[in-house]
């Protein structure tokens, strides 16, 4: 078998891989910008981070939430930059799907064609050989290539590490950040030492990829840019001049694609949301939608301070209700139902079926906390109001007026979120009125909030006062399935 030249499929996959990795890295930076702190523990306790990539400090003398901690990075390093988490997520998942597919085809072909021999060491002798190569590099000389192969021993080990260790760890730690995966398979998260350790390892893998890329480019330059690129472009090293120029054209094309998708995302975010969302949602529905939460954290795991996202309603009506223990508050349940209801907080508490669940909260920003929530299972309420056959979605309307309560937010109007009835019937879909054994705190959504344990936090509407059963979410707001979907271009279904 010829392992010296590169077959066409390896060359094509190599350049496709370069494109996807650039998109993944830049969109990953955009995602981390939204909560630029890394932790080892799942409570994401403020001040306990081991790394931060922000110049911001939070005030000690007034209430702040995690939205205040978001950074705005330059489009030069993030996709698309300028604090566009929704866009960053679309690109990250879209590129990840294509990257994983490319990788799967690559691995399959490697083993089907016997080309795996170029990356998988066949003998322990490669390790002393690699040490010898390292010493040779430290002498500012080039080691010999392995017989009949395009790499020296050290290079072969480095490629094996990237293909068979780093890439799988990147995928697996990415999956560990899915609330649906973690809720359905809590053991999987424990395998990584928790949600925040998985996130930290995911970041460290990014650094490893960047370090590999830097050394890879340096080695190509040292061994001969034109000749090495001739190998990777034409399958032979006989056209170094063409290799030089064509490689520059290909790199320019990759830069151009990155620039184009950045401009598209910044100028036409709704279009990106619809186009990429269609692809990502289809995959997500197939792989993650069936997951049902089986979380049961021990009471000892409850976070001392559960982080918060979003500001409470800043209205006289709400404040008066809060002062009176929410006695004047009413929950209206209506829309496409046989039996519309109006309930007080006492009515809700008096209903049979109170349920509590100690679970991990996943914020879309990346932080997490553990809390024990108690309240009425949503399926019980659904049973009471009896949705009409045409009802397919449940819309949760809140008392938070975003324009008033979060002036910095990119949008106005009352916050709402919509979920489909199937999700609303999940065993751990809960209308929570208690947290950690006490009444639900104001910042966590008092008097009533939603809990959906396979979803990201923003779907779990807080300060709820109205629940409507509807036939189509596209008739509500801007028609994307929720306030954040409408205004910051998040996905409607967020199992990851």
């Amino acid at each position: 078998m010829d392992l010296y030249g590169f077959p066409a499929w390896i060359r094509i996959e190599h350049w496709i891989n370069v494109l996807f990795v650039t998109l993944l890295v830049r969109s990953g930076v955009e995602i981390i910008a939204t909560h630029p702190k890394l932790y080892w523990h799942d409570d994401s306790r403020p001040g306990s981070e081991w790394a931060r990539f922000t110049r911001k400090t939070m005030p000690r003398d007034r209430l702040y939430d995690t939205l205040d901690e978001e950074e705005s990075y330059s489009p030069l390093v993030s996709l698309p930059g300028r604090r566009k988490l929704g866009m960053g997520r679309h690109w990250h998942f879209f590129a990840a799907i294509l990257w994983v597919l490319t990788g799967a085809v690559y691995i399959a072909l490697l083993f089907a064609t016997g080309q795996w021999r170029r990356y998988v060491p066949a003998s322990w002798a490669i390790f002393p050989q690699a040490w010898h190569d390292l010493v040779t590099y430290l002498s500012f000389r080039l080691p010999s290539r392995l017989p009949g192969e395009p790499f020296d021993a050290l290079q072969k080990l480095a490629y094996a590490l990237v293909i068979f260790v780093l890439a799988p760890v990147a995928i697996l730690t990415g999956l560990a950040q899915s609330p649906a995966v973690d809720a359905r398979f809590p053991w999987y998260l424990r395998l990584w030492g928790g949600r925040q350790r998985a996130r930290s390892v995911h970041f460290l893998v990014l650094l490893a990829f960047l370090a590999f890329t830097a050394v890879h480019l340096l080695m190509i330059a040292v061994w001969g840019w034109g000749r090495e690129n001739s190998l990777m472009l034409f399958g032979h090293g006989d056209a170094p001049a063409a290799g030089l120029w064509v490689s520059l054209v290909v790199i320019a094309a990759i830069v151009a694609v990155n620039a184009a998708v950045t401009v598209w995302s910044l100028r036409r975010p709704r279009s990106v949301q619809r186009v990429l969302g269609a692809v990502v949602t289809a995959v997500r529905r197939a792989l993650l939608r069936p997951a049902v939460s089986r979380q049961r954290y021990p009471r000892a795991a409850v976070s001392a301070r559960h982080r918060v996202n979003g500001r409470p309603p800043d209205s006289e009506t709400y404040k008066i209700m809060a002062v009176h223990g929410f006695a004047p508050w009413r929950l209206t349940v209506g829309g496409l139902v046989e039996n519309p209801l109006v309930l007080t907080l006492e009515d809700l508490r008096a209903l049979d079926g109170r349920q509590s669940q100690c679970v991990l909260h996943h914020c879309i920003q990346g932080w997490s906390s553990v809390g024990e929530w108690a309240g009425l299972p949503l399926r019980d309420l659904i049973g009471l109001v009896r949705p009409l056959p045409q009802a397919r979605y449940v819309c949760f309307l809140t008392m938070q007026d975003t324009g008033r309560d979060e002036p910095g937010a990119p949008g106005e109007g009352h916050f709402y979120e919509i979920v489909d009835l199937r999700l609303a019937r999940h065993p751990q879909a809960l209308l929570a009125y208690e947290l950690n054994g006490g009444p639900l705190p104001i910042e966590h959504g008092a008097p009533l909030r939603l809990r959906l344990e396979t979803q990201l936090g923003f779907k779990m509407a807080k300060w709820i006062h109205d629940i409507e059963f509807v036939s189509d979410y596209r008739l509500v707001g801007h028609g994307m399935g929720g306030w954040r979907e409408d205004n910051v271009y998040f996905d409607m279904e967020v199992e990851i």
Binding site: G47, T54, R55, L138, S139
Partner: protein, 169 residues
């Protein structure tokens, strides 16, 4: 006054002038986005680099006994200095002095290595142009990395044992 990861750093007037007029201010501005709270890891990395530096020089003492006496004495000083700095860095009170001693040792080792390969050292003309010595490359790498690491501690990007971050959020 500057910040690193939201952590305030005090800068004197000289540092302020240097940052403003050398263009290093922009680099410092970029560094302000990075801050790590890994004091033990930082110190372990520093100690490892100094151990590498010391070990190379100790090896050369044993290996190159025919070299001039001043060069052997120099290697003994570097090995002893690197060892002393590494020990001091792990102790609470003298840790900061240990870092400075480590930087001094690294700077000297780096400078002497570069001079030996360019201008040359007395009675050692054969070293001029000899960049193909792996131990020399390790010396340069370890010394340069230690200086960079200490620089990152001074810039507030890293903290070293026994200091800790005082982040509230």
């Amino acid at each position: 006054m500057g910040t690193a990861g939201g952590h305030e750093i005090r800068r004197g007037p000289l540092a302020t002038v240097v940052l403003r007029y050398t263009g290093l201010g922009r680099l410092a501005g970029l560094l302000e986005y990075f801050a790590f709270a890994l004091p033990r890891t930082t110190t372990t990395a520093g100690v490892t680099l100094l151990a590498g530096l010391g070990a190379v020089h100790a090896y050369l003492i044993a290996d190159a006994t025919a070299d001039p006496a001043y060069l052997i004495a120099y290697r003994e000083l570097i090995a002893a200095g690197a060892s002393a700095a590494a020990v001091l860095m792990t102790l609470r009170r003298p840790a900061r002095a240990g870092w400075w001693l480590g930087s001094a040792v690294s700077a000297v080792a780096l400078a002497v290595h570069l001079v030996s390969r360019t201008a040359g050292l007395p009675r050692m003309p054969q070293l001029i142009g000899r960049w193909d010595c792996p131990l020399g490359t390790v010396t340069m790498g370890a010394a340069a990395l230690f200086l960079a690491l200490h620089g990152s501690v001074l810039a507030g990007v890293n903290v070293a044992f026994p200091r800790r971050r005082d982040w509230h959020d």
